[in-house]
Symmetry: D5
Subunit: 149 residues, 10 copies
């Protein structure tokens, strides 16, 4: 009996390490971006039936695990409120240091509201630079204004 | 006596509201991006002497406040570890939901290391879209590999 | 110098107690629901210029406070992550006890996504009942599906 | 030996995924609302003997699990004080942003007291809307006044 | 300008110390139990107009403070989630050590539901005992069963 | 090997559910109050040898578990500092709302000191009431004055 | 108006620094141990009228402050749950590292119960030692057995 | 495979309960104080090879466990930052209530520095008293002055 | 199936204890500093294929574990935000007590920026001293200035 | 009236900004290292009378402030348990990532014990490097072995 989506995530990660699979290859087979597919494999998104079956084949998952992949998961991928891993912490630091700036500038441009984290996409790329290559990340989220009522 | 940079930030924010100043206009006068200038005005970055004097003129700050703007501040712009403001929370949510994905993909492309939050820039723009305009944010940070020793 | 929106909220609340003003009367003058107007007066929403001027007149606020009311505020109205006030705690308890239920049923009906807290409205009414009157609250939030990308 | 109600909840959830059961169908068989039945299946409410036996049949539970379903459980369905799942977080955000508003308006209408979370019901429905369907939730809780003594 | 009920509580406590007033005498004048009156003076309950005026006279409060006493306060009288004061901590310890026992026995007698903290009263008395006097506290709260729906 | 008292508590609770045992019957056999016996069965008190053997017979425990029941346990029966279960939370709320009141009144009657949670007893009873039965709880704790030294 | 005992503590500490007073001299005048008197001056114990007047004379306190010293204070002298000051942290560390040992040995000697922190005294002395002087602390607390009921 | 010192601690505690061993007898065999030996058995101190072998014989531990006893452990014996067990909590309370007093008196006697928790010993004894026996604890720690540099 | 790098770390630590291996010997075989190799063995750094195979041979790890050693791990080696172990706590204390000093002096020398914890090395040595040997630690991190943008 | 050492720290920091003083110059006048002097000025160390008077002259402090500088302060220079400032966070990250490594290597070299944070010194220097200058920090702390007793 598989008791949770986390158990499926652990199966996927273990299979990935054991078999030396790359996320970008999984993404190519599933036909979505590497960002969305990785998030889905790590238990944050819901696969369609077809997508789940491809993932099941790649990671050699049992049928019950494939069923779990089609269920909307309890999201949140970090073990602590403030992440300890340095790579992920730097993102938390950006939110902490620049959070008030982001808020001010979005409000200045759009008025009161938010940038959606649901109607949202992300693209991570290498940016070549002679002083050392850079990670370039493009985030795009629909602006949602507060409605009066 | 001005006891802290936070006191200067409060003066700037109060002057901005009272006088109806826009961050983008401040940025144009100071000659840096609106993102950096706003962060600096909100107490997260250090102004040069020339920049501090321009800011002092715009926000009608006393000399002591202009001196504070040139001192490296204790950074962190949020009152709680998990932000309560919905706009800023959405960013925290992105780190929480996509954090493990970002980590996996940067490691897949670059190996072990981090995306710098110091040698870093950010650009926030409106992306027009018939289904509702979007907020587009481009982040660029130098990749720093772990060194062995 | 008024340093923050919280200072304006304190002025409004003190004036309301001192003068015996009712939220529903403020709402009628401003021309929005009592729920939205109360939230805005308590520092959670942004007033238009016309609305702010009405509020300023009702609560006898200085011009600088009226300017603050038109600025998108840092939201969050509770002093602790788990609220201590019994009335508000009961709502937190509903989220705690029924949270997983709400999640399951929205996903069963709509698929993976969220109920917006931005494109959102709330209506609080007395429901007469011979066994003791009830508080009836209707919440309505747009369903936002996760997009694949 | 089944050591806790949580173990029974995990059995139910795993059976639901494995067999593709819908909460609304379970509710129809048990003869209560889908909201109450889902909460009960997720370990938040107490089944009667007859209800527990129906649930046991649907989810193919052993007798010991059926006995556990009739015991008042230790309630609380979220793993952290501030929920990380975006759908559930939006509800927490409503409590955080509108909590003081809800408090003010209930007190204005009813005086000092609370809206019960025990003598309470909830109804979740789809509200069709050309601009995008909405989730409509009706909450009804008895008003309980503080008694003097 | 009095900005909050806490400010009124501080005025009351300071006047009590300065003038050597006893809570039981305040209670006798107001005509409620010493338990309820003390809680109300400490900012946890709402006074009627008549009661507030008596309190105002005893503690020599300004009119604005008397108005605040008639407003339902944000409740919670402890500065930290786990109280540091030894007397109050012992009560927290009782909840911690005997909490599961209380839950089991109320459920065994009444079924699933709660003991109300709103329709609730408390009586604190000295119980003479040759081995050392005891504090006897009688708590009485209405049992509220969970309703199915 | 039984590694902890918690393991014995889980055995007792599982046996109670499986066999449909009532706490009051266990108390009658052991010859102490239902409050003390339930607390002891839930891992908060230490049984004598004779008491442990009766409990072992009722719950069909192995000898090693009977030994554990005679060892002073690490006490504390709640999984979080602020309890999530509504019944237990109401007690925490009483401490939070009335804590400062309890403190004031005990000090007014007895001087500085505490009400013991060790030389302590508790009695939980049904109080019949036409408006709905009530839970009556009598707490009795020795007053312990601070000594000067 | 003096609003709290903490305000009196701050007055005492400021006077002590300004006038170069020693705690042991205060203790000698008041006629109790230096440990108890220091705790009382720091807001943790209640002075008798005579003692408060001596303290008031030494620290040149106004009458209202002398009244506050005779009121049982809200105890707890540390700003955070885990103390940051190294001297005090070492004591917290002793509780953390040796806590389970202390528990085991007191139970082995006395059975289940506690060492009172109320019927308690403390004596801090210099212990001369050629390898470096030592701090010797003697704690004495009455053993309080749990009573069955 | 034994994965951690905690696993060895659980083996020791289980054997102690099962076999009815006393800490003072273990101490006598190992030839150190009961305080040190209990701390070491509970995973807080490092045994020498000879001491570990004696402990291994007493508690019937496998060779791998005896090896673990000779490794410096990750220390800290409490499951939460604020201990829930009443006996241990009283010690935490002493630190909380008397912490600032201890700090003041050690500084008054010794100057700035700390009382070591490493070059430290503890002795726990029964102190007979007609009003009820007392627990007497003597702590002795080397004073370590801050050095200037 | 090995589900995580932590599982591999536990295997390595258990093998080290069981076989009596020294970190410095592992470092010599792998050909990096003892500091880097220990961090890598404890799950904080990524091994190359050749390094992982040497580690696998020394600690007798299965192939799947050797694969895990080559994957960038989720970093963070402490079980709590404030470490309880005294040796590690002393480092946290240094950050707490001297953190603002370190910040001031690095800014005075270098301007605004940070000392990298990624382009970083550490060297731990014994420093002989007649008054007691000392631990000497040399940390070296690249200075990274904030860039304006 | 100056109520605390923190007030003196704020005076010093404000004077430093206002007058453009450098820490290294203060250190030269006081005759200790820049590391110790900065820590002392920031409220973490105790000045001698002579040192305090020099500091008082440099920062133009009143006599009462000079008296405060000679009192052992309550130490801890960070506003939150996990620091938000990026420069200081990197140090916390070193403790988090390398903490277990530091522990293992000090124990391997010295046995069980700690590196003192009291008998401790620190030296911060610029290390020139063609690939970008580095911050070199040398920490030296006496090793303190646990004593058996």
């Amino acid at each position: 009996m598989i008791e949770s989506r986390e158990a499926v995530t652990r199966m996927i990660v273990a299979a990935k390490v054991r078999k030396g699979i790359k996320w970008s290859d999984v993404a190519a087979e599933i036909g979505q971006s590497k960002e969305w597919v990785t998030a889905a494999c790590l238990g944050q998104m819901t696969f369609s039936k077809a997508q789940a079956e491809i993932a099941g084949r790649i990671f050699e998952l049992p049928d019950e695990a494939v069923a779990w992949l089609q269920i909307a998961p309890y999201k949140g991928s970090l073990p602590t409120a403030v992440p300890t891993d340095p790579l992920i912490y730097r993102w938390y630091e950006v939110v902490n240091v620049y959070g008030s700036t982001i808020k001010e500038l979005i409000h200045e441009e759009f008025g009161d509201g938010i940038m959606s984290a649901i109607d949202f996409s992300m693209d991570i790329q290498r940016e070549e630079d002679p002083k050392g290559d850079r990670v370039k990340v493009v985030l795009s989220g629909k602006f949602l204004p507060y409605r009066t009522f």
